[in-house]
């Protein structure tokens, strides 16, 4: 497997990606924290009047949703340019090209973990005492990863051929944000649409993150199973597409 043969390269690429990401702006890592917090504040003021009564700890509710969504949004959109943005590593040397996408998604994973780490003290501040359920959090992130990585592989390889993919994806991300229970509770969705609504695996993940962090509830096994299934299918489809398209990367870039 390419992961093992190239683990030193992957590690270095992730580190350099994180370093350039955080050292090129003045506030560096703080941005990565401030962004979800500010977004939470804005959304809180906008939506608190609408949903406050129905949702306790609405601020945390929002923040968990936003942070969980961010891994998907940031991971996929940054990974999209992972091939095009490192053209010389494609045209001047041979390394398995999946590595370029993998390292970007891994770096997004690290960022996401850091964001969640900042979230934990906020739980206490807002008066929620997390239980041992919080230990399930890493598991959720592990299940989340293949979903993001699978989609990222597909996007990164398509982007080499279609350079307006990023604009299309930006729109889809926007739509996805409102099609996931981030700013509103799941109960808002009418019963007869619920089945289609729940086809979105991110919905289930967001709900599970809230279960373990906010409500001290064990995630439902069926949700876990469906998310795992999504991860496997997306990873396989993404890899197949990537492999098919990657043979002509060096010519198309």
């Amino acid at each position: 497997m390419y992961f093992l043969d190239y683990k030193e390269l992957i590690k270095n690429l992730v580190i350099s990606d994180l370093k350039t990401k955080y050292s090129s702006s003045i506030l560096g890592f703080a941005w990565s924290m401030l962004n979800p917090l500010l977004m939470m504040l804005v959304l809180y003021f906008v939506f608190s009047n609408v949903f406050k009564s129905t949702q306790e700890h609405f601020a945390l509710y929002l923040l968990i949703g936003i942070t969980a969504w961010r891994f998907f949004a940031m991971g996929t959109s940054m990974a999209m340019s992972s091939i095009v943005g490192k053209a010389s590593l494609v045209t001047k040397i041979f390394i398995p090209r999946e590595i370029l996408t993998l390292s970007v998604v891994l770096s997004a994973l690290v960022s996401s973990l850091l964001e969640f780490l900042v979230l934990i003290p906020l739980l206490f501040i807002f008066g929620v005492t997390p239980s041992l359920m919080i230990l399930l959090f890493p598991l959720l992130h592990i299940l989340y990863f293949p979903i993001v990585y699978g989609i990222a592989l597909a996007l990164a390889s398509l982007y080499v051929y279609y350079r307006d993919m990023n604009q299309i994806w930006d729109v889809l991300i926007q739509i996805g944000f409102f099609l996931s229970p981030i700013v509103y509770p799941l109960s808002l969705i009418p019963e007869n649409y619920r089945f289609y609504y729940m086809l979105n695996p991110i919905t289930r993940l967001i709900e599970m993150y809230r279960d373990v962090l906010l409500y001290n509830k064990l995630p439902e096994l069926m949700d876990l199973g469906i998310v795992i299934l999504y991860g496997i299918v997306l990873l396989i489809l993404g890899s197949l597409l990537f492999r098919k398209l990657s043979s002509r990367f060096a010519e198309e870039i």
């Binding site: 690429l13 590593l89 045209t91 001047k92």
Partner: protein
Amino acid sequence: MILFQPPGPKEPQQDAIIVRNVSKRFHIPHEKKTKFFEHVAGIIKGKSSGYEEFSALKNISFKVKKGEKLGLVGENGSGKSTLLKILSGVLQSDNGGSVKVFGKIAPFLELGVGFQPELTAEENVRLYGAVMGMSKKEIEDRFDGIFEFAELSRFKQMKLKNFSSGMYMRLAFATATATDPDILLIDEVLAVGDEAFQKKCFDKMNEFKMSGKTIVLVSHDLETIKRFCDRAILLEHGKIVSMGNSERVIDDYRSNMRIIEEEVLKKQPEIIVLPESPLKPVEVVHEKVEPPKIEPPKDRWGSGEIEITQVRFYDQNGEEKYIFRTGETLVARITYSAKKRIEKPIFGIAIHRNDGTHITGPNTKFHDNVIESVEGDGIVEYIIDSLPLLNGTYLFTAAVYDFACVNAFDHHERRFKFKVEDEKRKDYGIFYIPCRWKYGTE
């Protein structure tokens, strides 16, 4: 498909690279569609997206033995770089072709691949080392050596964006060569940095050569290939036209080039004979405005009573020739046509180097060789028994004047061209002056 295999002992044949039936066609679309929407629009409109095919490589097969130094030569666009990219795995051969590589391969298609300007030199060395396939331990072990070799030990913590281009290349070269691969693919990157560092690079390359590494080298510098490689492959339009001992292949290449160049030079400006109107003298013609006739070319003037109709170059055997060696015989044959009897015309020539240096300008009067009279067609030959000129491109002027050398009958200013190409005579300057050297102690 590239198969990486460790050079196991069970592999008795000592091949490092086996290339079989490799072809590469590139699709050049008539209109490049890089937008998803453009594709959708194209499908809806029912337009077929046509493309042209360009065959960069056609059915290439060869083997490289372990420890062999192979040179790839050919003109621009002959497919050398494409071949190197296929060997390195960057590009893939079209269906049916295969490349097998035995051992650790390091492509030097470009130095500093993946360098990040925002990171420090140290971080970049780690990153680039990993890109080139070094393990963590290997990088740590060779870390100081890399900086020493690059002469950049003081700048470990400096961000790469603050490096000069020379420093950048030195760091890249030092890191790349530290990989210690079994097989090196090199694409004309030998010329790096200042002279002192270039020497170091060359020493490093020789070190690789001596230590029995397999090297595939693409270069325009034929001398480098000759000196460095045991074997060479000459590519022409994507095909192997010559393969074997590097000296022989380079000679083939040179003679090919010579034939092509001769062909180009043979197309000396065909002299347009203007029968009705004699060539206008350059002096201002104060006649009434006439309807514009065919403009005589700016580099030709004269009354046209005698016309120079052709200038050709020959060697001592009478073979038409435009590329000479230093010391060869050069015959410039000037063909003329005199419309009427002209007394004592003076034929003259001039040779300029293509940078404008006037080398010589004799005529038949200076040399007491005046022809009594001419009428009708004839030739004049200007013969240099032993051409003293060194490598370069030379422009030739041919003219015929009246005896006073004032009024031109026909003057062709630097309209003809010949070259001197001599691999053996490498002296600097314009002339080879016969000389001797003597040694002794006082």
